[in-house]
Amino acid sequence: MDTLSLILLTTISPLACFIIAIIFLVQQPRAAQGLVLFGSAISLLSAIGLLVQGPVEPLRFLWFQSGAIQLQFGFILDGASLMFGVVVAFITACIMLYSVGYMAHDPGKTRYFALLSFFAWSMLSFVYAVDLLQSFIFWELVGLSSFFLIGFWFEKPEAAGAARKAFLMTRVGDVGLFIGILLILQLVSNFDIPSLLDPQTGLSTQVSPGILNAITLLIFIGIMGKSAQFPLHTWLPDAMEGPTPVSALLHSATMVAAGVFLMIRLHPLFMAAQDTALIVLSIATFTAILASTIAMVDTDIKKVLAYSSISQLGFMLMALAAGSLFAGVFHLITHAVFKALLFLCSGIYIHAYHTNSMAEIGRSGGRRLKATTLGLIIGGAALSGVPPLAGFWSKEEIFAQLGHNGFNIYMAGAFLAAFLTAYYTFRMIFLITKPDQAPASDHSHPEPLNMKAPVLILTLGAIVLGFFGSNIAQGLGLIPQHHSVILMISAVGVVILGILIAYFDYGRDNAPRTGFISKIAPLDTLFTNKWYIDDIYRVTIVAITHALSRILHWIENHVLDGNYDRFGLGILRTGAKSTRVQGGWMQLYLGWAIILLAVVALYLGLQ
């Protein structure tokens, strides 16, 4: 098949399924589910077909023209989009399959599957977009699908609130991105990504470094919102209110991945803007540490995983800002696999025991779910960076890049975050597999095959994916960093330290089952309260917005409208008063006539 039909099949088939399902199949949830799965399979196969064909020239079509602006739409088919396209289609397919079991008894099944399909369409279209504005459009649609899926159980006020928060916070970021994009349009009247990035004629050769820094920084604000970086990260943990498979999708290959992918897309621009790169590096490092500290005290399995996503996204952005496109892409892909795996495992636990608390899951006998627990351990070890699992290799690339470019402080930060990652991950594993009391009754829950199969497939992925690093680098046309042995040993050392402490705190027999951090009370309070960031927003930005709208509302009612009303009533009253002049009362008429005559006579007399 030719490239155009393949790319159309990849992107359009989920859209077609969405439209058909939402319009015709509301009453037939099983048909909708089958259709959506079928569409997702087609999409995956075509994406693989594209990858096999290898990179080709972008395809472009004229979208519209206004004044000097010419916009195109089309598809960019280079290494990054081909590989990540497959990852997106693959993870989506796994999660859809899993959802068949997870959402089996939900009354809104058609809506659920239709929205997943819509999500896949917007994310895939975003990944292959050739034009920056096209990217922005699908970027927004990715946000919209997240909004609907986070708020899928909209009857729960928490879910609706979380959806709103996600939409608004990413929207704040998007305003930055939007301004950045419009600035580009003003400067070059063109949005074509390959020509913007062209080293000879691209944007970085046409504008001054200051403006380039401004533009990239604005774009980064958008990335901060989408990829949940400090200070726009607080929506992501709340987004856990959605169904668990949705969290799996949101945290791995879509939504939050979109931010990182945008940075991958525009990597040359960020590399040309030195100041921005440094800012990105600082924020990403800080976020990686911040999120890990919260993950080490939270008790909710999904929240822990959510903070871990924030922290790992920080790692990816660190890699990209430090200059390694390969490390960023590699970690994005491996993380997509093992994070999806971890969420799917957590979903099985939640489905079986109806609790999000890790300790509760452990006490209910979580480890009896064999396949799930295997997935949890492999996925967790991959996340921590235990060799030779996927996360080890991709994190290694990040350390190598930081070391190579001499970013020593950031390297220290990365090591700290990696240590915390190993700690909180194994804390989670120990809490579930080594409960403090044996399960009361032995009622075992089956793990349905359609939920187990995706878990096992992804487990396999988390094991082997790390060995494909050189293939990924090749796909990007890059050479991986040379690994330094000392760095590797210290990275492994940090991980082992984290695991050991977690074992000491939670894993061994008679473990205290409290974290070491609880001995430092102020830090413990700070972390438990999530660094008070949400509270700060509540008393500042939210309060200010409310106050302003209250004031303007008062002005509308009392100043503007009030005065118009008074003006109108005033006229009415004057009218009412002046009617008395013509009241049909003869004496009054006579009186007026006499007065008037007197005045005239006086006037004439004075002449």
Partner: protein
């Protein structure tokens, strides 16, 4: 028969037939109106197809001298803007009739007034003669009063009166302005084309332009003269709100464009910076005030103030003659259309919910999404369009205007783009309070009354239009762009 006159005469003939029909023939009246609405849609589509964007300018001209002594003639013609707005009016007319299908109270009179309003609007969009322009303008405005007073709800006497007084005050500014233009030109003609060839003295332009701008601006929801519009929207019956916010407010913007900017370009340029400030205030102010409304329709009403601010901003940026003028005008006209369809959808759906529940108070609901999933989904689409979401028509309009604003006045540009967040805030507030959350048991009876069958048709049409232009903006932008280039070329 010439196309424009056919479009104009369709509702005229409908009105005559309606008046001749017996009061009782409710079904026949509805069918005739629906047919007439559909016919105008078809004819407008023919107009759209027939308009040649490559040559641009005014096409489909018809001239019949009327009162030669003072130079009044029946002169019709449309440029690309006119084509689009005629289309808008046809769509809103047709979907408006379908929206009011269940009306039982004085059906004949209701539709008669509504058709009269439609005639006026068509006339304005087609007239190239100042006299007829003003004549049709008043025809469009006046039926609002009985429509609100008789078929309205809530505080309708107050709302109707307020609306009427504001709009007549606007006309009171317009009338001397238009006469001054006629006399000052001294050409003894009301013909807009002939007048636009005349160069008015700059001092005169600067003096007269505010009369025209504010006079028409009142109808376009110009801050701070917008007070009538939310009040009026709320009190009016659904289809009237649709026509009112969807089309009538565009009359104001169209008037500013065709009379103000076309005839008095230097006056427009002189005042533009001031009016840019007012437009920006309107955009932000409308959004903030919308945040605190307790009534669905008031939220939509203030959102209209905010969204029409984008149109006014675009118009003012266009006359500044900057490099971004084309984008600004393209965006403004695109927004007129997109906002028209969007508010029509908004009011049509809010009206449906009101008809079934007899409540417009947001806090009365909660979890309505579980009870009326279809109606709520449709409202959400309109809301997302209001929030400028890509994939729906408004996005392109806002993109172009914001781009122009950023180029011409960067600070104003940044402020209005930040306004996007505010829009999302008030829209999501409605979603969360009324549609999401635990369903209110009070409305369990609404489950059986969700939109279905015939009720879905008008909303589906409006959504389709929003999505089509959201993904293929070229269909409209090609038309607008050629006209904009020609229009600005005359400066």
């Amino acid at each position: 028969m010439p196309l424009l006159s056919s479009i104009l005469l369709t509702p005229v003939i409908t009105l005559i037939i309606l008046l001749l029909m017996p009061q009782k023939a409710v079904r026949g009246i509805r069918l005739i109106c629906a047919f007439s609405g559909l016919l105008t849609c078809v004819l407008s589509l023919q107009l759209w197809m027939g308009y040649d964007p490559t040559s641009g300018g005014i096409q489909f001209e018809e001239i019949i001298p009327w009162v030669s002594a003072i130079g009044i003639s029946y002169h019709l013609g449309v440029d690309g803007f006119g084509v689009i707005l005629v289309m808008l009016n046809s769509i809103v007319y047709f979907t408006g009739v379908l929206t009011m299908w269940d009306l039982e109270d004085r059906v004949k009179e209701y539709f008669a007034f509504m058709v009269l309003l439609v005639i006026g609007v068509f006339g304005v969009f087609m007239s190239l003669d100042l006299f007829f322009f003003f004549f049709f303008y008043e025809i469009a405005v006046v039926p609002m009063y009985p429509l609100i007073l008789i078929w309205g709800s809530g505080n309708r006497a107050y709302a109707g009166m307020k609306l009427m007084l504001f709009l007549l005050a606007g006309s009171a500014l317009l009338f001397p302005g238009l006469l001054a233009i006629y006399h000052h030109a001294g050409l003894n003609t009301f013909d807009i084309i002939a007048l636009s060839a005349h160069t008015f003295d700059p001092q005169f332009q600067i003096f007269v332009y505010p009369f025209i701008y504010i006079g028409f601006g009142v109808l376009a929801g110009l801050f701070p003269f917008h007070g009538w519009s939310p009040t009026g929207h709320v009190a009016a019956p659904s289809a009237v709100s649709m026509l009112h916010a969807g089309v009538l407010m565009k009359l104001g913007a169209f008037g500013i464009l065709t009379v103000g900017i076309r005839l008095l370009p230097e006056g427009a340029a002189y005042w533009a910076p001031t009016f840019v400030v007012l437009a920006v205030i309107g955009i932000i102010y409308g959004a903030y005030v919308a945040m605190r409304q307790t009534d669905f329709k008031f939220v939509i009403g203030f959102s209209s103030v905010s969204h029409m601010g984008i149109v006014l901003l675009g118009l003012n940026l266009a006359v500044l003659g900057s490099v971004a003028a084309t984008d600004a005008l393209n965006g403004a006209v695109f927004q007129m259309f997109a906002h028209g369809i969007m508010t029509a959808l908004f009011f049509s759906t809010a009206g449906y919910i009101y008809d079934k529940s007899h409540s417009k108070t947001i806090a009365d609901f909660g979890g309505l999404g579980a009870q009326m999933p279809r109606a709520v989904s449709i409202f959400i689409v309109a809301g997302l369009c209001g929030a400028g979401l890509p994939g729906l028509a408004s996005f392109w309009a806002e993109l172009l205007v914001f781009l122009a604003a950023l180029k011409t006045y960067p600070i104003a540009g940044v402020i209005v783009i930040l306004g996007l967040v505010l829009t999302a805030v008030y829209i999501l507030r409605v979603f969360n309070q009324a549609f999401f959350g635990a369903p209110n048991p009070k409305w369990e009876n609404l489950k059986a009354q969700d939109m279905s069958g015939l009720h879905l048709i008008p909303r589906a049409i409006l959504i389709a239009v929003l999505v089509i232009f959201g993904f293929v903006p070229r269909l409209m932008l090609d038309l607008i762009n050629s006209t904009t280039v020609a229009f600005l070329g005359n400066f």
